[in-house]
């Protein structure tokens, strides 16, 4: 085959062909609304202390969690996505017909085929949108938001529904006290539309595949495994430069941020990154205290709950930072809707 002419070499015949036409695109994209959903069942640290060797004090001091929500046996990632996505659409005043792109960030879908997003779109009455799932673990929402924003800017979509949803409870060994105290279930969503001035800043994203063995689920019959101390070291040393760079690229100084909403992995990681970011005027998200670590759902879940509590001033800049298995990470500054 190496001797044969590559197809491109025959391109001389096509030099007179017209250039491909691209849509004009838009100057920017912005988030117009959030929505979220949490399962009804609350599991406290005291509940867990009855089944594994742990205490409320230990969990609070090591990870900062007081209680978390766990989905029912019949409740799926798709169900939670529909709930969160529907609320975001209603809050944004958009009808299903307005949406032409649906992205679900998740690493715990019920099935690998079909994807979650197409079915969620159908259940929300969104007709024939572009629909795909993103797996960047706990960084998934930031990856999905960046993709939606870029699709809108390029004219590939007008209005996008971006969802982060997880059912980690089905991948956790409930006798493993190092993981069952951390992970939880939930969903958050954002409606992203075209905008004359950008409300979603440039993404700073990356990965470190050499550290893939730090957080993993080996196969569909296995539980989630995490090297907590190694992940903690990475998160507290490698990520604040990513956060600072996302601010720099968006033209926003850390002290101008009204909120810092990193992935809710562990309250001590959140506080460590916040300290080094020096976002002295920002509300620091601590949603993990009552929501647990919900991976790709944690950032939109926190944003939505903070917006509901009126902790996020409209129009103000907020920094989001996702990070997790892969290892993967992504950060961008957004304008609060």
């Amino acid at each position: 085959m190496s001797d044969s002419q590559p197809p491109a070499a025959r391109g001389t015949e096509a030099t007179d062909a017209a250039d491909l036409v691209l849509p004009a695109g838009m100057p920017g994209a912005r988030i117009v609304a959030f929505g979220h959903y949490q399962p009804a069942k609350v599991v406290t640290n005291h509940d867990l202390a009855e089944s594994v060797d742990t205490t409320d004090e230990w969990i609070r001091s090591r990870v900062g969690i007081a209680e978390r929500r766990i989905a029912g046996p019949e409740e799926s990632v798709a169900d939670m996505s529909v709930q969160a996505g529907g609320k975001a659409l209603a809050a944004g005043g958009l009808s299903p017909d307005d949406v032409d792109l649906v992205i679900v960030a998740t690493c715990t879908p019920e099935s690998t085929i079909p994807n979650v997003s197409a079915g969620v779109a159908h259940r929300l009455g969104i007709r024939a949108p572009g629909a795909f799932d993103v797996n960047a673990a706990c960084a998934g929402f930031c990856y999905a938001l960046a993709t939606a924003s870029d699709a809108i800017r390029c004219g590939s979509a007008r209005n996008a529904l971006v969802i982060g949803a997880e059912k980690l409870s089905q991948w956790v060994d409930w006798s493993d006290r190092t993981t069952c105290i951390i992970f939880a279930d939930g969903a958050g969503a954002a409606v992203v539309t075209a905008a004359a001035t950008p409300g979603v800043g440039p993404v700073v994203w990356g990965s470190s595949g050499a550290d893939a063995d730090k957080i993993y689920i080996k196969d569909r019959h296995s539980y989630l495994v995490q090297e907590g101390q190694a992940v903690f070291r990475w998160a507290t040393t490698a990520l604040h430069p990513v956060a600072i760079e996302a601010c720099r690229r968006a033209g926003v100084a850390p002290e101008e941020l009204a909120a810092f909403v990193p992935h809710q992995a562990n309250l001590r990681i959140v506080e460590s990154i916040a300290r080094r970011l020096k976002a002295s005027n920002a509300v620091i998200a601590d949603d993990i205290v009552t929501a647990g670590n919900t991976s790709a759902a944690s950032i939109p879940l926190a944003l939505s709950r903070m917006a509901e509590r009126q902790q996020l001033p409209s129009g103000a800049p907020a920094l989001i930072l996702g990070f997790g298995a892969g290892l993967t990470y992504a950060a961008q500054v957004i304008k609060v809707p």
């Binding site: 001091s61 090591r62 101390q229 190694a230 903690f232 070291r233 507290t236 040393t237 001590r268 460590s272």
Partner: protein
């Protein structure tokens, strides 16, 4: 760097990260039992020590450094060989 300088620097780090007064950070103290510092704070202390002293303390080494003296000696030894 002298033993005293490392000890003083380590005291500042421990005070900032774990809220333990620097004066309490004396050579014979154990981190876990005497100073009530947990494994995650030890990681933060190791990272801060790297910034301050230019000596990396990997997780595998960190678990063997039980007392303040152990860390001071480790930093001193690595600082000389570096």
């Amino acid at each position: 760097m002298t033993e005293q300088e490392i000890l003083a620097g380590l005291g500042e780090i421990v005070e900032e990260i774990a809220g333990v007064p620097a004066a309490d950070v004396t050579p014979e103290k154990t981190f876990v039992d005497d100073l009530d510092i947990d494994s995650l704070s030890m990681v933060e202390i190791a990272v801060a020590a790297q910034d301050k002293f230019g000596v990396e303390i990997p997780d595998d080494e960190l678990k063997n450094l039980k007392t303040v003296k152990h860390v001071v000696e480790y930093v001193q030894a690595q600082g000389i060989s570096a």
